[in-house]
């Protein structure tokens, strides 16, 4: 096949998949309101996607904050601006690192769990059984998990940011002896509402993207052990690439 033919085939496959995902997103959104009839299911999914990711999110947030503290202090000290460490870390975390890293961690933990759970339900005929009992699996299984992920992501991002700033404070204030008053007052004064809005919008968009990819891949997985494994892998890879692409687009829009 010629290079043009190969590129054309890849483009066609990509567009077909994008179209299928968009149709699936519309179907899931259409079932989102009926899915609220089962608040217990939704709460369960927020717990699964959110609460069960807390430890990894907090741990990673702490270390990312501490690394920012060390690197930031080293850089700012060259210009005699160590006191601005809190500002640099807070803005970096709230606008960029928090939403992106939380989304990547979410895809790795909650996204894979969602994809494999739904994929296994398909492989063991549970989704077909629901269809045969006149229950739409998209409403009962997919929509609550999708909504749970979308709700959990901004909450996890907020926790990641808070723990990250605390980590930077540990380095800046406790280790490097920046006065706590200076650190916190500069941070509070520098962070504006638009910074928080940018972070929140990013985390919601990433939440939609990561949750959609996870439920889509799980729902459309081949009903075999290998198929479920592949769906899980695709969830992580596609989510990571899409999050970074979307982050670039959103950052360009906000600046």
């Amino acid at each position: 096949m010629s290079a043009h033919g190969t590129r054309g085939a890849v483009l066609r496959t990509g567009l077909t998949k994008l179209g299928a995902e968009t149709r699936f997103l519309l179907r899931v959104c259409g079932q989102a309101v009926p899915a609220l009839d089962h608040p217990r299911l939704l709460i369960e999914q927020i717990y699964n996607a959110g609460a069960r990711s807390l430890v990894i999110i907090m741990l990673c947030g702490l270390f990312v904050g501490m690394v920012l503290g060390l690197q930031g202090y080293d850089l700012l000290a060259r210009f005699g601006s160590e006191s601005a460490l809190g500002v640099a870390a807070a803005l970096g975390l709230i606008r960029e690192l928090g939403p992106v890293l939380t989304a990547l961690l979410f895809a790795g933990r909650a996204g894979t769990a969602l994809a494999s759970e739904i994929g296994l339900m398909g492989a063991t005929d549970q989704l077909t059984a629901m269809e045969m009992m006149a229950v739409d699996p998209v409403r009962y299984v997919v929509a609550p998990r999708f909504l749970g992920g979308v709700i959990a992501m901004p909450l996890l991002t907020a926790i990641f940011n808070s723990v990250g700033i605390y980590g930077t404070q540990l380095i800046g204030v406790v280790m490097m002896r920046i006065p706590a008053g200076t650190f916190w007052s500069q941070t509070v004064n520098a962070v504006e509402m638009r910074d928080i809005r940018e972070g929140v919008i990013k985390s919601v968009v990433f939440g939609v993207a990561c949750s959609l990819i996870a439920v889509y891949e799980g729902y459309h997985a081949e009903p075999t052990a290998e198929g479920v494994g592949l769906a899980t892998t695709r969830t992580v890879v596609t989510s990571a690439v899409l999050v970074l692409m979307l982050d670039y687009i959103l950052t360009a829009m906000f600046l």
Partner: protein
């Protein structure tokens, strides 16, 4: 060969001249099946003849390329999703592996269709579920999870779930596969008693000749994409055609060959 349904009006399920293919592989080419109300109808045939596919066609999960499938007088392939879901509430399906929802207890599995389709008060729902579990002998297992059940128990829980909405028709997909003789006997007795006491029309897909012979009113034998024989079990046993004889006696070779089509054996061995 008997065909008591012929001329007896519209059957409950009527499959007429159905053609279905997956890619280039033809599964059915002109399939005709009638399921009469209140009877136990068995669909038999060697593995891979499309018995389960027929159930999926009847339930509207897949569409035939040609032909008519009427259930309760409704043309299934033309039904909208909402109408199809309405029809499925009147038809129960027992999956080969039970297909129990693993995140729920036995009780919740049986209660699931009722919770989704009927807003019954919790005490009434509880009584209903316990009655269905009692019918399959598993009331004591109500709090167990599906992973704690044996294959036979899972099949019985699935049966309780299939009858909890009091369907008019029950479709069984290989109900005896992988069961020990005791569990087979239990399932056999349950199918019979459901048919007799609740007058549920039953369609069994199976290749267990002995079990089917014991309970079926009408049997269809599928092979090569269509019905090759039909009648009651004793008529099938006395059928002299090669296909029926091979299936009923379990002969390893015959019209259904032992060897998958392949190139010449010796030529392939001597190939450099």
């Amino acid at each position: 060969m008997s065909d008591r349904a012929e001329g007896a009006g519209e059957p409950l399920i009527h499959v007429q001249d159905v053609h279905y293919a997956v890619g280039a592989h033809s599964v059915f080419s002109g399939l005709n099946v009638r399921v009469e109300a209140g009877k136990i109808t068995a669909i038999m045939g060697p593995s891979g003849t499309g018995k389960t596919t027929l159930l999926r066609l009847i339930m509207g999960q897949i569409q035939p390329q040609r032909g008519s499938i009427r259930v309760f007088g409704q043309e299934v392939p033309t039904l909208r999703r909402r109408e199809l879901f309405g029809l499925r509430q009147r038809v129960g399906l027992l999956f080969q592996n039970g297909a129990l929802l693993t995140g729920m207890s036995v009780f919740e599995n049986v209660a699931f269709p009722v919770r989704e389709h009927a807003r019954l008060p919790e005490p009434v729902l509880r009584k209903l579920v316990l009655m269905k579990l009692q019918a399959v002998g598993l009331r004591g297992a109500a709090d167990l999870s599906p992973s704690e059940l044996s294959g036979g128990m899972a099949r019985r829980v699935a049966l309780a779930r299939a009858i909890v909405m009091d369907p008019e028709v029950l479709l069984y997909d290989e109900p005896f596969v992988g069961l020990d003789p005791i569990s087979k006997g239990v399932i056999l007795r349950l199918i019979q008693s459901l048919n007799r006491t609740l007058h549920i029309t039953s369609v069994l897909v199976s290749h267990d000749v002995q079990e089917i012979s014991a309970i079926a009113d009408q049997t269809y034998l599928l092979s090569g994409g269509s019905v090759v024989a039909q009648g009651n079990p004793s008529e099938l046993r006395n059928d002299t055609s090669e296909v029926v004889h091979q299936f009923m006696t379990g002969a390893p070779d015959g019209p259904v060959p032992f060897h998958y089509p392949a190139a010449d054996y010796y030529a392939q061995l001597l190939e450099q």
